[in-house]
Subunit: 192 residues, 4 copies
DNA sequence: TCCTAAGCGAGACGGTACGTCTTGTCTTCCA
DNA sequence: TGGAAGACAAGACGTACCGTCTCGCTTAGGA
């Protein structure tokens, strides 16, 4: 089922724009990149940019979607060991390791707060899906599930962004081990 | 030694601008507020704004400084019970409760990510000061102190911002108790 | 020797474009019509337009040529009465009457100044041809022939465009009679 | 009655823009001048342009108003000889001679058709005012007054623009004499 | 009491980025 | 193989903010 060539041109232009933005974010940070910068870098006309994306934010979010798609494909290809948050977080750390530039541009300090907000939302949803079966054993837990999820995702993201912003001095596995050591005792004491 | 009237006028103008920004942030979010909005609200001339602050960010950071000063005065007035992170966090939760509008504008979702970055930096420094004496007992801790501090501050801030953004359904004390339950077991297992 | 079908298609496309432009000029004026408007109206691809005409102006001038060709065919079919400017102008008034839409779109107020310039040039040439034999009797006429021709054509066009833009309240013959009454005395006083 | 300095700044900027447009029209014609050209030439910010004029056309019309004002001041300073159209036209020819650049940019072939339309309207009104007392002696003139005025103004303008576009080979007085010789016999034959 | 310096409002200004619009070229596909 | 469809580069448009500036008015505090 071959794509139309026409579609291939469109995809090529989209990719040019996405790659240009990615490179520029790493150079000067998301906020400082202008649409003009992007189209100059991508060698693309101004109207072409706006034919593909509503604005800079839309382009940025399309990168986020790219990352999400890549990640979910990766997740499905993994042998399902268990459903604990810490096996999920390990998959993410490793995926970030393998897609370093993309993750750094999105979640690193150059990426602005936009992706972080979306990442928080996405990971919360993922965590909820992942933990479906592990319903709370207690009827009245000392920490409401909503706060628990919020906390866990924030804690994970703080380690992930620290890692990306500090040239990854530890392996993905080591980072995940730290994450587990910091959060597992507290979480388990609450869930029993 | 009374202040000069001239100085009083200056302070008055600064306050007009700060209050105007604060109100506007709560109305439409930091990013969407323009300098024109601020000076219209404060009934101040454009050049007056720039005589007092370099730009919108400077004005915003001056609010942050206000909060920091208020907080440190409050901290010193507290009876020093212990130096654990969780007694410090309780003081902050309570101070936020008492200065709700200020904290919401700065650390809430309307405040943008700017204050959060500064808050992270400030709290990390505060935590380090607070924990000075509690040097790691282990020579080679499983989690480096830098990461530990980063984690703890992030976890705290995630609870604080959640609380501010969700109309504070729990008391400051209850929030702090959750924070302790979530983080203390992990932290102590590392520090022994 | 029948035309090739291919040629007929080409002529058909040209006509579609010309008719589309004509209709659009009458609707919103030459200046406000865009190439996109024309090809939408003509149901023609963008590249097809540019295969046939260099730009909007070329298409417009092709309409002008159409009018010119039609007019000259008409002129030759007329019995040659005399060669005075006022018998020529009568032929034009009558031809305009018979090709109202075309003349209105080109020479009316919707047609922009482009056609008027060309019309001025064309009519000046025509007038010169027509008046060849009537060389100036005076050696040093009080009004140089160039100015005389310019004046006469402008005066004629002012009546023609007024007539087209005001729903032709008088007959072609009556308009021509006015033109003669206004201009003939002055012209003859100069040529003696 | 001194103007405010503030107003003087505004007038200065307006003049910079008007002069820039005038010069650019003479260089490349009204249609080819872009707003960017004007603001570059005037050393003015883009938003400043739009603070003063709605668009290029507005700026152009402000030049027209300048010309009109200058002309009317000139007209009032003239000794009122008689009220015939040909004494009025002489004043215009002479005023054009004295304000050559302005008239050339507006009414010359570089000026586009915009000014000509306005000029036609303005001169028609002026002519009507001038001829108020000379009511038609005939009850049913062979040429309606509306057409007569339209014709007379067009004929005048055709001589004026020819003169400006051809480096004024004759004096203003000579041009006006030609205008009179061409038009007066016809007009008087109609009005008796 | 004057007067001189500073704070201030008002807002013009140059500059830059935005998102929209139109042009003329180019490529791809289909009948 | 010609034409429909439409992606594309180029660049002008009018708008929105920014940070600088010039101008007068007011209002002290020192002469």
């Amino acid at each position: 089922m071959p794509e139309k060539n026409e579609d291939r041109r469109i995809q090529r232009t989209r990719k040019l724009l996405q790659d240009a933005l990615l490179a520029l974010i790493l150079e000067k940070g998301y906020e400082d990149v202008t649409v003009q910068d992007v189209i100059d870098r991508a060698n693309v006309g101004r109207s072409t940019f706006y034919a593909h994306f509503q604005d800079k934010e839309s382009l940025f979010l399309s990168e986020f979607e790219t990352m999400r798609t890549l990640f979910e494909r990766h997740l499905l290809s993994q042998p399902a060991t268990d459903t604990s948050p810490w096996s999920l977080s390990l998959v993410i750390f490793k995926h970030a390791q393998d897609n370093l530039q993309l993750y750094t541009a999105l979640a690193g300090k150059q990426g602005g707060s936009l992706a972080l907000t979306h990442l928080q939302t996405y990971l919360s949803a993922l965590l909820r899906t992942h933990l479906k079966q592990q319903s709370t054993k207690k009827d009245n837990p000392p920490v409401p599930p909503e706060i628990l999820a919020h906390y866990l995702v924030s804690a994970f993201m703080s380690l992930l962004t620290w890692w990306l912003d500090n040239n990854r001095p530890y392996s993905a596995e080591r980072m995940n081990e730290m994450f587990r050591q910091l959060t597992q005792p507290g979480v388990e004491s609450i869930l029993q």
